[in-house]
Chain length 477, copies 2
Amino acid sequence: MAKEKKLVEEITSMEEDFAQWYTDVVKKAELIAYSSIRGCMIYRPLGYAIWENIQKELDRRFKETGVENVYMPMFIPEGLLNKEKDHVEGFAPEVAWVTEGGLNKLTERMCVRPTSETLFCDLYKDIVESHRDLPKLYNQWCSVVRWEKTTRPFLRSMEFLWQEGHTAHATAEEAEERTIQMLNLYAAFCEEILAIPMIKGKKTDKEKFAGAESTYTIEALMHDGKALQSGTSHNFGNGFAQAFGIQYTSKENKLEYVHQTSWGMSTRIIGAIIMVHGDNSGLVLPPRIAPTQVVIVPIRQNSEGVLDKANEIKEKLGAFSVKVDDTDKSPGWKFAEHEMKGVPIRIEIGPKDIENGTFVAVRRDNREKTTIRFEDADAEIAKLLETMQSDMLERAKAHRDSSTYTAKNYDEFKDIIANKPGFVKAMWCGEEACELKIKEDTTATSRCMPFEQEEISDTCVCCGKKAKTMVYWGKAY
Amino acid sequence: MAKEKKLVEEITSMEEDFAQWYTDVVKKAELIAYSSIRGCMIYRPLGYAIWENIQKELDRRFKETGVENVYMPMFIPEGLLNKEKDHVEGFAPEVAWVTEGGLNKLTERMCVRPTSETLFCDLYKDIVESHRDLPKLYNQWCSVVRWEKTTRPFLRSMEFLWQEGHTAHATAEEAEERTIQMLNLYAAFCEEILAIPMIKGKKTDKEKFAGAESTYTIEALMHDGKALQSGTSHNFGNGFAQAFGIQYTSKENKLEYVHQTSWGMSTRIIGAIIMVHGDNSGLVLPPRIAPTQVVIVPIRQNSEGVLDKANEIKEKLGAFSVKVDDTDKSPGWKFAEHEMKGVPIRIEIGPKDIENGTFVAVRRDNREKTTIRFEDADAEIAKLLETMQSDMLERAKAHRDSSTYTAKNYDEFKDIIANKPGFVKAMWCGEEACELKIKEDTTATSRCMPFEQEEISDTCVCCGKKAKTMVYWGKAY
């Protein structure tokens, strides 16, 4: 009983302390457990099932574009990591080093992969010989390790799960095309499946990936007005190919360097789902990603026929992922628990409903109740799930749009950052000095130079010199 | 062209040098590539696609029995690994140690998981409180690291992919039941999907898992007469629970230790697929696990209508995984390549076939050709695939049975081991001394005490004392 009480206890309200609200939800919805390894988390069944659904859908979309899955070793010898100068500078300070194997000291230490560009290059160097071997469109699902100082569940942890795609192409144009194609794929996935709208754009040179020629990003706005980088796609040009000697014989029988890309999405995106859709009762899962889409809670379940009816409804809803909660907890307790866990629709069915030939369906996002006749179960639940999915996207869009501001000069800019959580659209001259000053003055960073540009003014919001491009700025996770 | 020639080159014949044949197939079928990390291999698209199919089917079967997936950290602090005495003795000599993180030396070194019993125990200790929390039926798909001295692709590598199930139960009976249930699940999967017959049995104390009360195993016989341990299921009793303090309050309100199991199957099983079914033209994949079940090779593909017809047949075979090979290689080259890669059925379609309204289907396992009318494509290919699948299992069974011998005394035993590759069934007194002597004299080891016991004689094949049990002996990978 003591355990039950602990669980229905109110979580911290998001208005009071958003960070604490987040931690409470993550733990009480049983998404993760903390482990005794600093900065590493345990994915519990609900947390992992969400990741499995993300994997299934992303993997299907990748494969439709010709991508093949592979698996590379988890270790990178120091010498291999050192081959591309910018890359090693970016990652060496934050890796875990294996220095002993079995009972012996290693002659060369190896890091646990923080990302696998170097390993893919090492493979491509061996298996790419002719233009007929191109493109190579490989991806792997794995875990990576980055030695972070401060960690937060899903958002920043020492080990995290992700996919990393690595492609090699004959031409620069093809590589750029693939980079953009994967960015668009990520954005479409987030909108259609996770109900999270994305700003698509290019990172500034300061924010790009170590070793990349250009990095593209999708940026989402969390409920508290902070931005979350949700997926990135990098064009490496032929820099890595030169460092690793990845050459092919062209149709014209000339030796050329390949052009490469990489792109990744991680369990971080689960943090976005929580912070975009969650509320003060816990998690709210978009129907298309929810491991359990409908939970049936029998009322007075020991009355004759109630459990049978609950199971009959489950049968009728065979197209969805449905659970009957027939544990011996009280209905009120069950309501709270499944709300905490974000189940999109709750069905309540008791003796009275059975008499009427109906049941009640309650939407998790707005708690709207609908009375549904047994014979309409399948069609009505399908409709509710679809409506809920699109309402969630619309709500997230409306919140993002109403939290996006425009600043024409630095005073406006600083005032917005200080007082209005959200994105700020403002012009930039292209100089890193202005990015650094803005970060220093406001803690906001350049999120991206969006594909959809607007002409807000013709001068840089920071230095007042001629503007080159519009940038989305914001505080970020 | 040089590259093409290299690929159609004959592989070493299995009769001449089985080990070299295995290595040739693994490389030329492009299952793996060697990496520059000692003992680690790269899973190329075909190798990884076979693993994905294994995962999909096993995962479905696990979930049907109530198993939920989770993900645990990949690192184990030394102190945690040390908690169970037998376990740490078994694994500490063969782990990789992380001693530096970021730019700092760690105060406690961590190993990369060789297996995750200790991590699951650490979690169960925190989340199991009452009998209502039991059973816990968790599984994870991940990679593990064991610092092996000699390595071979799939069979023994420093890093390998696997699943590890870890369950906690209220009673010893339930734990034993789950241990056997999972062993049976593995055996059924191997027979039904991989067409590999298994001997099910219990390991002797000498061969059991470090820290287990009992270990059950499935053992398969490879084409060369050597055994391969293909999956194991362990009952831990409450030993780990005592070491980690995993207790629950029973219905009678008493504090009790949980009883635990673990069970695993790894990418090693891909080695079994190769060595049970392969032939001198390369890999032979059972239809139910083959990533590509049917490859269509157009003959004179530049003739009008040929490619269209090939694609039309592909459409008709929508229920299967089908590829049209329209590359500019010659048909002969394509035949050899897809044979090497083990594609179960090849369809040949050219102008002449089109005239006749038929195509030719060739089975990979026995090269039998069938002429099929277009309108019968779906039904006939379905039948061919099913027949091929069951023929492969029958053939593997026949080979296993005809390579299984019985020894009543030590001379017979030694003679068989020396001259007839295969399993030897012989009685055993139960003493480790005899196991050690047999290994010393013959290099054969006890594979298992099979569930299906026979009374071959009443004395131990080695020492002649009273026999306790029949054992399968053999040389093993």
